[in-house]
Structures are given as C-alpha cells and as structure tokens.
C-alpha cells in the first residue's frame, strides 16, 4: 500500500511513521469523526471507503450530503495538522467497513522535529492533498457561480 502522504519517503521512514499510528476498523455507516470535533489525529485509509459529508437542510430535514469520498492510499482529516485543529467535515465508513491508520498529531510533530527531512517530504505531500482539495472546490464553486449568473441574467 502506497500512501499519498508518505510519497518519496524511504521505506524505513515510511515504516517509522506508520509505527506511530494505530489501526482502526470502522464498521459501515459508523462515523470516524463529526463536523466540529477536535482534530487531533490524521488518518490514512488502508481499505474501504470514507465518505466526507456536510450537513445540509433538505425539505426541512438535516441530511449529510456527500462532499468527497476517500479511498485506500488517500489521507483523511488533515485538519489535525492545520490550526484551529477542528474537523470541517464529517467522515463515515461507506459501503463496507473501512480500515484506517490513525496518526496522532503530537506523535507526528515530534517525529518531524526529530526527522526534518522526512517531515519536509510529508509537509510537501500534505500540501499536494490540501492544494488538490482547494483547486477542486475552487473549480466547482466557479461552475456553480457561472450557472447562478446564467439563471439570473436570463
């Protein structure tokens, strides 16, 4: 399994980082974290799928609407490394049970201090993950904005 967060790390470095974590099994439909929860752990998806959702009122009911889905190798919960350390989405295992590796923020920060080269590579990989989310949602926002303009100028 190649994790996007551990890209370009040596196998020894990747092994050291993975040892910091704990494997978690999330049954289908069970929440990994909820919107607004304190974010003190970052997760690497080992198997299964994690749905990232936001609450949205639909016909007077609050429904969790899909925002993104993360699959094996991908990272969930990077809010754990970005202040103010609060999850801005909800995460739930979908379709089947999911397996993730939970990496505590404190353990990661200590590792980065002790291994700055590996820490730098991880920071770059995290920037790619965050940057992709930003670009994706920027594009989606612009598409929706364009439609709004078309509707109101028709």
């Amino acid at each position: 399994m190649t994790h996007e967060l551990l890209k370009d790390l040596s196998s020894a470095e990747a092994g050291q980082v993975l040892k910091l974590g704990t494997k978690l099994i999330i049954p289908n439909g069970v929440s990994l974290f909820r919107l607004g929860d304190p974010a003190d752990r970052l997760f690497l998806v080992e198997c299964g799928r994690i749905r990232l959702t936001l609450p949205m009122p639909v016909r007077g009911r609050e429904e969790d609407v899909l925002v993104e889905e993360r699959s094996p190798g991908q990272t969930v919960g990077w809010s754990a490394l970005i202040p103010p350390y609060r999850f801005t989405l909800a995460a739930t295992a979908s379709l089947h049970e999911a397996e993730v590796i939970a990496l505590p923020r404190e353990a990661l920060l200590q590792y980065f201090s002790a291994n700055p080269v590996a820490g730098y590579k991880i920071a770059l990989n995290l920037a790619v993950v965050i940057g992709h989310r930003l670009q994706l949602f920027q594009t989606m926002w612009l598409r929706e904005m364009q439609r709004t303009v078309e509707v109101h100028s028709a």
Partner: protein, 107 residues
C-alpha cells in the same frame, strides 16, 4: 208529437250532460297543469375525445420525488461536478471549465 218532444228533451239533456262533463274534464286538466313543472334535467354531455379547448387542470402541486431519490440525485450531481472539475484540473481550458453534465439539477 209527444214522442218527438220527448226525443228533443232527451237530446237537449244529453247535450247539456256532455257539455258539463267536458267542462269538468277541462277544469281538472287546467288544475293539473297548475302543478309546478319539474326542472328539466339536461342530459350529460358525452365525453369529447377531440376538442380544441384545453381543459384547465385543477391546481394540484407537482409530485415530489421521495427524499431518498432526491438525496441520490444530489450525490450524483456532486460526483458529476467533481468529475468535471477533475477534468478541468487535468487539462485547464475554458471549455472544460464550463462543460455541461447530465445532472438533473442543471438541466
């Protein structure tokens, strides 16, 4: 002569009797006609299959899709929009940025 007079009297009496009977019959008939007439009921018009007139439909709200279907449509919309955004990021062009999807929310 007596026979003639008797026949004449009987004839006159017969005419008077018939006249009275006729008058009574006419009175009862006119009394019956004084009864108020029942309103005429119009026969129902046969259904028309072809007509230039478009019937005005009663104001009925449009059927709402079940919420499960609506949520599925929202999810599909998000997936299609993400796929479209990914295509744009892979090859950023004006055309791909505003490419259309088949989502029911935008059509």
């Amino acid at each position: 002569m007596d026979m003639l007079l008797m026949g004449l009297c009987l004839g006159v009496a017969g005419v008077v009797f018939v006249a009275l009977a006729f008058g009574a019959a006419m009175r009862s008939e006119s009394w019956n006609s004084a009864v108020p007439e029942l309103p005429l009921v119009k026969a129902a018009a046969p259904a028309r299959f072809f007509s230039n007139r478009v019937p005005i439909a009663p104001a009925v709200p449009p059927l709402q899709v079940p919420i499960e279907v609506l949520l599925l449509q929202i999810e599909n919309h998000v997936r299609m929009e993400q796929a479209a955004a990914e295509s744009f990021l892979a090859s950023p062009t004006q055309t791909l940025l505003h490419s259309k999807t088949t989502s029911p929310f935008v059509n």
